[in-house]
Symmetry: C2
């Protein structure tokens, strides 16, 4: 999570909403890390999670991330949650809960439906204070 927070801080420095993500393999080795690049790429789907999962699959040379863990500073939205399911991640660990836009513990609750063919284990609230603080400071500075 420290590395994901670092990616989030770097995203903030680029003027992006500070969210960072890391994918590690079954033994905990780093496969990919990424920060949010929505503004830079002009692509609303360029969330940290999507970029990290795609890069991790490329690093593994396959299509899936079986046995891998996605660690991200913010509760994934429905897009990233379904992405985590499609990439077949074993586990999703996130920092801050996102009652306004989250898609795993709130709203769509993507993993809770029979239409979700692969549901990773989810652990939320890790380093929550720091992850949420980064977002709060970022939006406060823009007001």
């Amino acid at each position: 999570m420290e590395m994901a927070l670092e990616e989030a801080r770097e995203a903030a420095a680029r003027g992006e909403v500070p969210v960072g993500a890391v994918v590690t393999d079954a033994r905990g080795a780093l496969l990919a890390r990424a920060g949010n690049r929505v503004e830079e790429l002009g692509d609303p789907s360029a969330h940290a999670e999507m970029l990290a999962m795609r890069a991790a699959a490329r690093a593994l040379g396959g299509k899936h991330l079986a046995g891998c863990t996605l660690t991200v500073t913010l509760e994934p939205c429905a897009m990233c949650a379904q992405g985590a399911s499609l990439f077949r991640l074993r586990k999703v660990v996130f920092g801050a809960y996102d009652p306004k836009g989250g898609g795993t513990e709130h709203g769509a609750r993507v993993f809770s439906h029979p239409q979700c063919n692969h549901a990773p284990e989810v652990v939320g609230g890790i380093n929550e204070t720091e992850a949420a603080g980064l977002l709060r400071d970022f939006f406060a500075a823009r007001r």
Copy 2:
């Protein structure tokens, strides 16, 4: 929808699950078209909708697709539905309903929650028979 079906047929010819998508602007002019390329790109997030939305935003030179319509042969999954929300599409038109994996009319029902900050209008069942037939034939041939 004819063009989306053509993309779906071309996807099947490439060995991809036959789903095709098209993005048109507010006047109905074509911005982008794409077929599913999950296998080719080794990227489970390379659904036709995601590829078409990204290409359409690039074509418009902006980040959003306000006023635009996504036409796709199959009910979008939760990832693509949330993507359509993030790209701020005005409308999503789809062919076949997908009770097993759909995320707009089934399962996560992504547009039905307050966490969805922008909900496109949805019209389902357009050319449903042909869109569903393509999928049925594809999977029957692989069994």
